[in-house]
């Protein structure tokens, strides 16, 4: 345990609580769970991107020795469900498959070999249907991937939203410069280390326990129950350590299939994805085509912005509508636009269903907007930094989307990165660089929320902090830790409030039976929203302890003070938290000393029009400056260095904050330069291994220089705001801007692979390479 003085926990450089056990390989992940009688589950997947199941016969699979369950569409409750749009079944009840990898059947057996053999013996006859891979084509195609929606909208349109703020037409009339550009983004896999593992265990009383690594276990508990035809109280969700997620584990068919198999077999069943499944059939960041039009004054004052987005939903919706909404309402808030018109279409295609990945829809739109701001600066003959500073929002302002900015370090982020990176020149070409290598710097900024209203009625978090006579303090909250360090943050906040040392604090393991209700770990909300609830719960505990001490000693509570986990009275009398917990235990038949806290999202528009308005309690800002080297003959882009300044309000733990930024930047470099699923003409993902899905390795990581800007939010715990998503959001745009600065060629499509850059350079310069 790190040593710090009591009461200096917040702001200390504290390693992750689980760091030692993780590094030593002792952490228990869901994929490590072995329950008595646990069966191996396997999934049969569609080889077609679009088809109708003419017949399916699983009788031969049942005869394989060791097989305990085989399930197909006919074993599945005919309940349509989904993340937001009810567009799927656990297995194809409707006899349709809609992407390569769509779940067709599943088996559970006593061994891996039996399960595999049984899968091979399920006979399925398909009728091929026309495959739609291009969203534009899908919008006008007579082929319907899903039944036409009730409102009569065009086929294959999963969701549509438009937001108009101010008077965009007047804004364009008033503009002295208008530019329009179109940008395209790629399908980024979440790239987590541990493929999804899920264990479902039925008990003798009709309850099902599902161990799954989702971010929103309470929401999943309800959906799993609905999809399996159970009552909500019949499902319990538990978790072990989660080996990374980045949003990619929020949704997964295994959470439902494991339950279906376990109920059928009457035994626990584990489903464990292969890496090929993790890359080929699970929920990438959705690709978008974003057409932007921006108008401004000659001096660079931004007036109006218009966006038209066509987003590739993939075959099923999950969180896709919310992801599109985030794309429509987030990036604009960095700048003082007066008028905005954003419209987005979410289109079904016969591709792997998209899903949430770090940043939701913000990285896509930020790539487009921050590229365009640089292009606009070029048109105006202005320095891109100057253009951003001229339009950057500040604390106390209300943005065009109605966000009330209570703390803002955007300007400082821009100034810090620019100064540290040596803007605009950067460094001279390094020794060993390829001939004629060109260097350039690029900047991009970001705004992101720290929590968001998902339930139209409220956004909030609840926590309990319990002190027991054994000297332990236990924190209970309803959000999972994904490996990012949330539990360490909550423990530090508790340590700071109570003045108790960190080794006496634990965070209770996640179990829907035992923790308060929680919305989930998303929208960069757990430090801010949950952290605030934990802080308030610790304060409540302290208040109760003081009252108890006052009562014990028969003195007024106001005459007592709290220091270092103890209650003191003027005459030198004192009681530790553990002693007070024992007093409570003795007086109240064994009760623990309990503090409760809830964060209700201060200042948020809870009555305002959904989904826009002031939808978060606090907003985070950042600026990244990337320095790249481009080999003009081969198109190879090497990101040498990224200076990343983040306004995170207050660093609860600077060590982890810097780590979060470094990881985000590397993932952002991946989004910018390396990563992207490629599909063949039949809709199959072609890069389903880490050989061909190019996740950046440590050798490809740039030198990352994190800069922590502490603007001190009035509502966040100790002034803290979210950091998890912003760490990735601006990087790709900063890289694209740096490549443009280095080569003079603007690339408007991600990722900036060597071949794409080579083509762009060649079309300008002609000839092969040079």
């Amino acid at each position: 345990m790190p040593a710090f003085e009591v009461g200096t926990a917040v702001g200390s450089r504290t390693p992750l609580l689980e760091a030692r056990e993780k590094v030593c390989g002792r952490t228990i992940y869901i994929s490590d769970l072995k329950l008595p009688g646990m069966l191996v589950g396997k999934v049969l997947r569609s080889p077609l991107a679009h088809g109708r199941i003419v017949s399916i016969d699983a009788s031969r699979a049942w005869r394989v020795p060791g097989v305990k369950a085989v399930v197909t569409g006919s074993d599945c409750p005919p309940v349509r469900w989904g993340g937001m749009v009810p567009d799927q079944y656990i297995l194809p009840v409707d006899g349709r498959v809609r992407f390569v990898g769509d779940e067709v059947a599943a088996v559970a057996a006593t061994s891996e070999d039996s399960a595999r053999e049984a899968l091979a013996l399920i006979d399925v006859e398909y009728e091929e249907l026309p495959v739609l891979l291009d969203p534009q084509e899908a919008l006008s195609s007579p082929v319907e991937i899903h039944a036409r929606t009730e409102d009569g909208a065009s086929p294959n349109l999963a969701f549509r939203h438009r937001v108009v703020l101010g008077d965009p037409e007047a804004g364009f009339r008033e503009s002295e410069m208008v530019i329009e550009r179109t940008y395209r983004t790629s399908y980024q896999n979440a790239g987590y280390l541990e493929p999804v593992a899920c264990v479902a265990e039925p008990d003798g009383r009709g309850r099902l326990t599902v161990w799954c690594p989702t971010h929103d276990p309470f929401a999943k508990k309800a959906t799993i129950a609905r999809a399996l035809g159970l009552e909500p109280h019949q499902v319990r969700v538990r978790q072990a350590a989660i080996g990374g997620s980045f949003g990619g584990k929020i949704h997964h068919k295994s959470y439902f299939l494991a339950g279906l198999l376990a109920l059928r077999a009457g035994q626990p069943v584990r489903l464990l994805d292969s890496r090929e499944e993790a890359l080929g059939v699970t929920y990438p960041r959705m690709a978008m085509e974003i057409r932007l039009r921006v108008g401004c004054k000659r001096d660079g004052t931004l007036l109006v912005k218009e966006a038209f987005i066509v987003a590739d939903n993939g075959a099923y919706s999950n969180s896709a509508p919310a992801i599109l909404l985030v794309a429509l309402d987030t990036a604009d808030n960095m700048y003082r636009f007066r008028h905005v018109r954003n419209e987005g279409l979410l289109v079904y295609t016969n591709k792997v269903p998209s899903g949430p990945v770090r940043g939701y829809g913000n990285p896509q739109h930020t790539f487009a907007l921050e590229s365009l701001i640089d292009e606009l600066a070029g048109e105006l003959g202005m320095d891109p930094v100057e253009l951003r500073l001229r339009n950057a929002v500040e604390s106390g302002e209300v943005t065009v989307h109605g966000w009330r900015i209570t703390s803002c370090g955007l300007r400082e982020c821009i100034q810090e990165t620019v100064q540290r990176a040596g803007w605009p020149g950067g460094r001279a070409t390094e020794e060993g660089a390829p001939p004629a290598a060109r260097r350039g710097l690029g900047i991009a900024c970001c705004v992101h929320k720290s929590g968001a209203r998902k339930d139209p009625r409220y956004e909030g978090s609840a926590a309990e902090v319990r002190a027991t006579a054994d000297g332990l303090v236990t924190v209970y909250c309803g959000e999972p830790e994904l490996g990012e360090g949330a539990r360490t943050v909550w423990a530090l906040i508790t340590a700071q409030e109570l003045g108790v040392s960190l080794e006496r604090i634990q965070v209770a393991p996640f179990d829907t039976d035992n923790v308060p209700y929680g919305f989930g770990t998303w929208a960069s909300r757990v430090t801010t929203m949950v952290g605030k609830a934990v802080q308030l719960a610790a304060q409540d505990l302290k208040r109760r302890a003081l009252a108890l001490a006052a009562d014990t000693w028969g003195v007024p509570a106001a005459s007592l003070y709290w220091e270092a986990g103890e209650v003191w009275y003027g005459d030198g009398r004192r009681l530790t938290l553990a002693q007070l917990a024992e007093v409570e235990q003795v007086r109240r038949g064994g009760q623990a000393l309990l503090g409760r806290g809830e964060c209700l999202g201060e200042g948020m528009d809870l009555q305002g029009a959904q989904p826009f308005g002031n939808l978060s309690m606090a907003y985070s800002f950042s600026a990244h400056v990337a320095e790249v080297e481009v080999d003009p003959a081969t198109g190879l882009v090497t990101v040498q260095r990224v200076v990343a300044a983040h306004d995170l309000g207050r660093a609860i733990n600077p060590l982890m904050a810097e780590g979060q930024i470094e990881g985000g930047v590397v993932q952002g470099v991946g989004y910018g330069v390396f990563e992207g699923l490629s599909f063949d003409e039949r809709g199959r993902v072609q890069n389903t291994t880490f050989l061909d899905y190019k996740l950046a390795t440590a050798a490809d990581a740039p030198a990352v220089e994190p800069v922590l800007v502490e603007s001190g939010d009035p509502f966040g715990p100790f002034g803290a705001k979210g950091l998890a998503e912003p760490a990735l959001v601006p990087t790709a745009a900063a890289v694209a801007n740096a490549v443009a600065a280095a080569t003079g060629v603007r690339i408007r499509e991600l990722p900036l692979t060597p071949e794409r850059v080579w083509r762009a350079l060649r079309s300008r310069e002609g000839g092969c390479g040079r």
């Binding site: 070999d113 081969t634 390396f674 072609q686 880490f690 490809d700």
Partner: protein, 294 residues
Amino acid sequence: MKRFQVLVPTSLEEALAMLAGGGGEETLPLAGGTDILVRVKQGKRAPTRLVSLTGIPELVGIAVQSDEVRLGALTRIRDIERSVLLHGSVPLLPYAASLLGSWQVRDLATVGGNLANAAPSADMAPPLLVLEARVKAQGVTGVRGFPLEALFRGPGRTCLEPGEILTDISFRIPAGDWGAAYIKFSPRRAMDIAVVGVAALVRREGDIIREGRLALGAVAPTPIRVEEAEALMAGQAPRPEVLREAARLAAVACHPIDDVRASAEYRRCLVEVLTMRALSEAWRNSGGEGGEPA
């Protein structure tokens, strides 16, 4: 993954007998396992018996005797990368070895395995081709030796008979002033496969290229030598137009494909660019002056 048996012979004779005596069961040799085990896991191969060759002492080792270098086929890539002997005599090989896979992969993978796997992109192939390596193969019926080029028949295909294994790779260190270079082009700096690999070797006589050798990886069904370019360079000064023409001939000689990693068109262009760079670097490594890429 289908179950299989791993046999661990301790002598070459025992290994060859095991490989020959499968009795109808599919039996494959197992070297480092970094290619074959991945295939088995993916279900692309389903051998029932694997004969591990790593415990056979005579198949392992690096020997340099006067101008003759011999690599046991089971020599690990990591040992080639770290060999002091090779660093002193043929630095091209340790360098090429350092670009293969990751540290962990190099700790298992072997030079013979890399060649016998016959991937068009094999990192050890172009450097050994420009060194004009010969290989020895042995089966129960006997030993034969042939030039490395003759080993490769197509992607994943070699001239080895069933039951026959590579035993060693040898080459002569070029006489006089010479230099070599290998350029592996891949998006990532590590853990990646070559989109294009170019090896060049130059024997220098004063300001003249006495002999130039060029080999390409990942741009044809097998790694290839480019004889047209080699013929052009012989006896020439490394003037920009010579290097440019050699590079052009290399681009003409290759037959790349379109795949998820790159288009044929792009690969062909890379061959041209990287050939110029590799020749230029090889020239400088030979102690020559000038020779800047055009």
